[in-house]
Amino acid sequence: MASVALRNVWKYYGHVEAVIDNSWKCEDREFFSILGPSGCGKSSTLRMVAGLEEISKGDLFFDSRRVNDLHPRDRNVAMVFENWALYPTMNVYDNIAHPLRVRRIPAREIDQKVREAAEFLGLTEILKHNVKRLSGGEMQRVSIGRAIVRDPAVLLMDEPISHLDASLRSRMRDELKTQISKLGVTTLYITHDQVEAMAMADRIAVMNEGRVQQIGKPLDIYSHPRNIFVAGFIGEPSMNFINCEYSSEGGSAVLKCPSFTIAPEESCGKSISRYKGGRSLKLGVRPEDVKVGTKEGPGSFRAVVDFVEPQGDRTIVSLRLAGGETILAQSLDRFRQPAGANVQVAFDQRHLHFFNPETGVNVHYA
């Protein structure tokens, strides 16, 4: 087992900066996820940790050892690829045994290790089956088996379940999480799907355009996003962003938006008053914190229902505000107003976020 640390790591492909000044540390035995859209640099980062790509600048440490120049085979990392890459002509046993055979480990030891791994993953019954006959879940377990049979210090996973269809994906996610927590191995998990990262990881590093945007526990990132990108990327449907103007009336902050006026609650108000960035702010509110009803209430304002999307146990409502903006609200109760209806909208004041419209940084952190 080992911790993995990046210190001021850069990666260039010619002139293109794929990874820009990344620093983070994944603790020993931690499930650390790197999350970001396509092209954000997460795959390049993983390949640098594996040793498949050169590190252009900066240092990579396993525990306290600098491993920039260490050959991949000496790094003791195991990698699970996006399409699992099982050897189609071999059976389960041979697939798992392969990395050991390549290292010329004696056959008896190989057999013991393979059987251990198989038992751990529940594969003992199908050891002799050819991998082409396996279900998706079984194949995933075989690919993990192949990765862990060497007792790697670090397990690297590059979007291992993103190519599966939706229902299989959530089941695989749960299985993966269970197995990895049983194993207790340091895991670096790359994905573009924030649901996966949120569900599985101990901590997440959110990346965009080569830079690390924020690192933290899932709920922390969800509740306290550092900037607009993280706020919009985490959570589905995405956070609503509304432009507003800040003014102080009688010493307390008041925010004027084209469609309504808000007096933010205590702690928020304090950060806003300390904010030095100017009068414009971007208000961020998650659809689940937008309450829609027919009756007026404290802090509520008028809006018109644009369309309603029932999604089983929740309903997404698109609302058009008086000033022309469109926001999404999420309701856990069955929402019965039709499109075009007039409704009253209120925000959950405890969960409002404010961002600097130019830099995108959350006012709390500015």
Binding site: I20, W24, R65
Partner: protein
């Protein structure tokens, strides 16, 4: 917006590895070895050509008695002069070029729809592709007499069209075989979308599929050109005068009063290499790309 969340404790240590010196020497050795093998291979291929070059410049006497590479008795041009004046080499070159080009075009024109229909619509089931390949595998000499008889029956012996038709028949299977994997690599959905948009199957083949298998067509075309150019057996039995003799036949005719005129033959042979070299050099990029692409897709 990097967040520095930690401080690395302890002194980072360099991982143990081979010293740079020995690593570099090994690399140099590998590289030299590779170059050596390539040079050896090139010599093996080009030596005969070099020999023909020098032979064409030697005096006839020297050719008969000496096996040396370089002309010992002086450089002469009479072989070249005689070759082109005494034997209609240019006519032979023209015949071969025409036959090769026309038969290659014919082959492509027929093979493209044939291969497409076999690949996409499974025409002929399992048997048709096997038959097609089977005819190519068979040694041509086995059917030389029947083919001669057939060509004679339609009165096309000693004509260019006769040989063109025979070459087309002979080389069609290999074009089908070569283009097969290229057709298979085209995603079916491209054609489905075109059909749904209103394009007939033929139009779709021409406007959508063929542009995508161009390298395959190039490969098949070039291979056919070369096969037709080099073809000897049927050129021999179906042609007997300069009117329709092809180049390989023409070369073999360099029999003078005193036996085979190697000097002139060499000169003529070199002349014959040039057109093909030009054609292949021009298409070389397409050829290699075409062959390797087909190979990778398998």
């Amino acid at each position: 917006m990097a967040t520095h969340e930690f401080a690395v404790s302890g002194e980072p240590t360099l991982a143990q590895e081979e010293s740079p010196g020995s690593e570099g020497a090994l690399r140099l050795l590998k590289r030299t070895g590779r170059i050596f093998v390539i040079v050896l291979f090139l010599i093996f291929i080009l030596l005969p050509v070099a020999f023909i070059c020098t032979t064409s410049l030697k005096i006839p006497l020297e050719i008969r008695i000496s096996g040396a590479l370089l002309p010992q008795g002086g450089v002469v041009w009479e072989n070249w002069v005689k070759a082109f004046s005494e034997v209609p080499v240019l006519r032979y070159l023209f015949n071969s070029s025409l036959i090769a080009f026309v038969s290659a075009m014919l082959v492509l024109f027929i093979a493209v729809p044939v291969t497409y229909s076999i690949v996409r619509f499974r025409t002929g089931g399992f048997l048709l592709p096997s038959w097609i390949l089977g005819t190519y595998v068979m040694p041509p000499i086995v059917v030389s007499i029947p083919i001669f008889t057939m060509v004679k029956m339609v009165g096309l012996t000693n004509t260019l069209p006769g040989l063109i038709i025979v070459h087309t028949m002979l080389n069609l299977p290999i074009a089908v075989w070569l283009m097969d994997s290229y057709f298979r690599a085209v995603p079916k959905e491209l054609e489905f979308a075109a059909w749904t948009d209103g394009y007939s199957k033929v139009r779709t083949l021409v406007r959508v599929v063929v542009p995508l298998i161009k390298p395959g067509v190039m490969v098949a075309g070039i291979i056919n050109l070369i096969l037709s150019w080099n073809e000897f057996l049927f050129a021999l039995i179906l042609t007997y005068s300069a009117k329709s003799n092809t180049f390989p036949i023409g070369i073999s005719n360099f029999v003078g009063e005193h036996g085979l005129q190697f000097g002139q033959m060499s000169a003529a042979a070199l002349a014959g290499i040039i057109p093909i070299y030009i054609m292949v050099f021009f298409f070389a990029r397409n050829l290699v790309e075409g062959l390797t692409r087909g190979g990778l897709r398998g």
